[in-house]
Amino acid sequence: MTSTRCAACKHLRRRCPPDCIFSPYFPSDNPQRFAYVHRIYGASNIAKILQDLPVHIRGEAADSLYYEAHCRMKDPIHGCVGIITLLHQQIYNAQTQLSKIQAEIAVLSAKAQTESHYQHQVEHVPNVDENF
């Protein structure tokens, strides 16, 4: 008889009931997925989080929990907060660059306006010879 236990029940070495809270989101072909979330959150916390959510969004929750667990495994100090910090830095850098460029545009536009105004004046100065 082939085993049809989900990855969670396999990991927890228990029978996988028909209404297993984990089985839709932790299929047996991806044992790492449950191993990571179990390591960071624990099975009962995962079950609690999923149970408190409507069924149609549990998949998204399981995915985000896996993502965060994965980040924490890769970076035990910062987890996914390291990525958030990096993004904040990128936003700050981009805003600074944007402000610089916008200031540059303002200067260039003002210069272009001044030059065009001066050129207009030069074109309309009466010929000196006409006055003599």
Partner: protein, 169 residues
């Protein structure tokens, strides 16, 4: 007699707070919420395991765990991933604005350059092509160097079709 009061963790867990309690330096008794939230999301024993780090790294680890726990409490579905998604959209938006601003700068500069033989319509068209070349060749300003380290993780998760939406800008 009268030792130190129990830390927030040991108060919540209703146990004696030992001298070498792993939680005490990071979860003082005057901030019970801090431990309560990480305990709710991760569990005390998992926190204890995750604090098995060199001492000088534990403060940062606790800070990030508290941040993640709070994010998960605010958004039980997406947690920190929701924050990451939002910030990535901001980065994309800023990248577009920068590209537009840089193109505008180039246009103004080219308009101000003395046009050699600008009356010839063919030459005018060639100049237009030059400005569009700068626009289309590279959508990102050259002086920006966004680190793509986070994209490595997003790429591998995209292959698993986790979110069904493109999180990478």
């Amino acid at each position: 007699m009268g030792g130190n009061p129990p830390c927030a963790s040991c108060k919540l867990l209703r146990r004696r707070c030992a001298q070498d309690c792993v939680f005490a330096p990071y979860f003082p008794s005057d901030d019970p919420h801090k431990f309560a939230i990480v305990h709710k999301v991760f569990g005390a024993s998992n926190i204890s395991k995750m604090l098995q780090l060199p001492l000088h790294q534990r403060v940062d680890a606790v800070s990030s765990l508290v941040y993640e726990a709070n994010a998960r409490a605010r958004d039980p579905v997406y947690g920190c991933v929701g924050v990451i998604s939002y910030l990535q959209n901001q980065v994309s938006q800023l990248q577009m604005e920068l590209a537009v601003a840089q193109a505008e700068t180039l246009c103004i500069q080219m308009q101000q350059e003395p046009a050699p033989i600008a009356t010839n319509p063919i030459m005018l068209e060639a100049q237009d092509d030059k400005s569009s070349f700068f626009l289309h060749q590279n959508n990102l300003p050259q002086f920006l160097s966004f680190s793509s380290s986070n994209n490595v993780i997003f790429d591998s998760f995209k292959k698993e079709s986790i979110f069904g939406q493109d999180m990478i800008s």
